[in-house]
Amino acid sequence: MLYFSKIKILIIYLIIFFLTVCAVLNLVNNKENFFLSKKINLGLDLQGGSYLLLEVDSKPIINKNLQQKLIELRKQLKDNKIKYLKLTQSKESINLLLENSYIEKFKIFFVSDDNNINFYYNNYRSHEMEYSIQENNIIIKYSKFGLIETKNSALDQSLEIVRRRIDEVGTKEPTIIKRGSDRILIELPGLDDPNRIKKLLGKTANLAFRLVSEDEDAFGSEQLTFENSEEKLNVSKRIIVSGDNLVNAKPSIDNQTNRAIVSFTFDRVGAKKFGRATTDSVGKRLAIVLDNKIVSSPQIREPILGGNGQITGDFTFQSATDLALLLRSGALPAPLKIIEERTVGPDLGEDSIKAGAISLIIGFILVIIFMLYKYRLLGIIANLALITNLILLIGILTLLEATLTLPGIAGIILTVGMAVDANVLIFERIKEELKIEKSTIHAFDTGYKKAQSAVLDANITTLISAVILFFLGSGPVKGFAVTLGIGIVTTLFSAYFFARHLSSYYAMKNKDKRIIL
C-alpha cells in the first residue's frame, strides 16, 4: 500500500495543482475567457435576490379553446349534414345531443383528417380530443395528450411573455425556466424589492377597446368596474380592437393636463378597425378595458384614423411606465399565480457570507488543533490532507461553476469535521498494527490495507444521503447536498492518495525508529 510509482505520484500532484489553480480562479477577475471566468456562483440566499415559482392556470385557456371549437363544430356539423338536437359547452367539455341515426356519421366525421377541430398528433398517435357516448348524448373532451399539448403551449407562451416583461425591467442575469408541466421558475439575483416584478407578472394584460353601451346592443353587454374606483359602467361585449394589434406603447406626459399617459400605435389591421369603429361611434364613449377592469372611458370626439392613440387614466408616471411595458410585451395566454416566493435582502446575504466564513475558519482551526494534539506528527499529515481537501473541494465547485448556498457552506464545514475520519480510521489502525508489528513500514502498510473497507463503507453511506438530498431537495438544500457529496469524493482522494503518499514518506524516513502514536 505504501509503494507509489513515479507516474502515480505525478498524477496525484497534477490533480492537486490543477484544482488549486481552479480554486484560485475565484479571485481572478476575467469575464471573457472560458476557463479563467469560472467561479463559484453565490446562491440567492448569499447574494440577495428573489426566487419566484409561478403556476399557469390553464383552465381559462381550455375554456376559451372549447368556446372556439364549439363555434367551429356548429359550422362543420351543418356542412357535413349532421343534425344535432342540442350543442352546449361546459367548463371542460362540449356536450352534443344527436339523433341516433347520426351517431355513426359523427364518429367518422370526428376522426377524419379534414375536420380542423380534432387535431391528430403523429408523435403521440393520438387525437387532440376524445368523446364518450351516453345513449345519444356525446361528451367531447380533451384527450390526455390534448391536455398536455394545450398546457405545454400555454406554458411556452407564458414563458416568452414573462421573459419579455422581466427583460424590460432590466434586472441582471435573470434565470427563467420551465418547471414541470405548468410552472415557471424565476430567479432574480441582486433584486432587493421584487414587488414591482410581482405586480407586472400578476397581470394578464388583456387590453380591449370596447364601447360603453347605454342601451342593450346585439352583442350583449356586461357591468364592469373601474380599476381605481367602485364606479360601474355597462360595456358592450364586442371587442373593437385588442392589445394583440398594438405595435408600440410608451409612457409620456400630457402637455395640457400635465398628467402621465400611455401613448400607443396600432398595427395596420388594428388602425383600420379602430378607425372604422370610431367613425361610426362619434359622440359615444369608449371603454379601455384591461383584465376586465375599466382603465378609462373617454368620449369619442372625432374619428381616430391615424392608428395612434393614448390612454389617459389615473396614472402616476411609474404606473404609466408599467402599463406601457405590459402592453409592449403582450398579454399572457392565461393568468399566472405566484405559488412560492423567497426573497433575501442583499445585507442579509452579506451577513450570511460573513457568518459562514467565520464559522468555517473557526471550525477549521478547532479541528486542526485537535488533530495536532491527538496525533502530533501524523496530525500534521492529517491536517495537510484536510487543507488539501478543502482546496480540492473549492476547486471542483469552481470547475463545475456550482452554486454555493448558506447550507452549502454548512456542508463544507461539516466536511471539515468529518473528513478527518478517514485519516483517523487509518491512523488508529496503524497504531494497533505498531503494537504487534516490528517494522514501521509494515505497520503502516497493513494499517492502510485493513482500514480500507471501513473507510469506503463509512463514506459511501454519507454519499447515499447526499445523493438522495440532491435529487429531492430544492434550492439552498441542494447546495448542501452538492458540497457534502463532493466533499466525500475529495476526502477519499486526499486520504487515500495524498495523505498515504505523505505517510509512506514518513514511514520510510522512520523505518528504523520505534514510532509511538
Partner: protein
Amino acid sequence: MMQLSKNINFSNYYKKMNFISVILICLSILVILIKGLNLGVDFKGGTLIEIRTENDKVSISEIRQSLLKMNLGDVTVKKFGKENDYLVKIEINNTEDPSFIESINKKLNNDLGSSVNFRRVENVGPKVSNELLRAGLIAISLSLAAMLIYIWIRFEWQFSLGAILALIHDVVITVGIFSFLSYEVNLSIVAAVLTIVGYSMNDTVVIFDRIRENLKKYSNISISDISNKSTNETLSRTLITSITTLLALFAIFIFGGAILKGFSFAMIVGVIIGTYSSIFVATPILKYTNVTQKTILKEEN
C-alpha cells in the same frame, strides 16, 4: 484526555441502555403525537418575514399588535439573532396578491414609527408546502431504505436489521426533541436528518466492519465478547470523529448566524445520538439475533 480503558464491558450495559432507548423512543413518539411538530412555512405554507427595525425602541408586542390588525390569522413574532432583528411568521399565505408583502411593510412602517427593513421573505402557498413535505418524507424514507439495502449487500441481514433500528432510533429521538422544544422543522432540518442518517450509519458500519473481521479471526469467542472487543478497538476512532464533527458543528451553531441554528442544533443532537446508537442499539442486535462465525462464513461461500 482520551486514554480510555480499552476494556469496557459494553455488553453488560446493553439491557440497561436498550431500556433507556425504548423509553426515549416511546416518549418521543408520545410527544410528537400529543404536541405535534412546529412545522415551518416550508411545510405548512404561510409567510415568514425576517425584519430589522431602525428604531430600537420597538417591542415584540407592538409588532404583533400591528399585524393582528391586518387579520392575517395566527401571527408569531420572536427575536432573531441580533438586536432589532425579528422573525415574523404569519399563518396565512397570500401568494396570489402581488402587493401582499408590500402592504404588510407599509402597515408596519406606519404603526411602529420606525423604518422597517424586510431582510428575508418566504411566502409559500399550500400546494408547494404539501409537495415539499411529501418530498421531505420521501427523501428520509428513501435514505433509510437505501442504507438498509447497502448494509444487506455488504453484510448479513442481522447487521442490516441492527443498523436500520439504530437509524430509526436516531431519527425518532431527534424529531422528538424538536417536537418537545417546539423548534421549527423546515427544509434544512430534513437536510440535517438525512445527514444524521448518513453519519450514524457511518459510525455503525465502522464497528460492524470490525466485528465481521474479528468473527472471522476467532471462532470460539461469544458474540458478546466479539462485540466488546470490536467496540473497544474502534472506540477511540468513534470518539475522535465525533469530537471533530461536533467541533465543526459547534462552530456553525455559535458563529453561523441565526438561519443555521436549527440545522446545526439538529446535527449536534443527531451526532451524539448516532454515536450512542452505534454502540448501544446496532451492536446489541447482533447479539440478540445470535450472530456467529457461521453467519459470516455462510456469506463468504
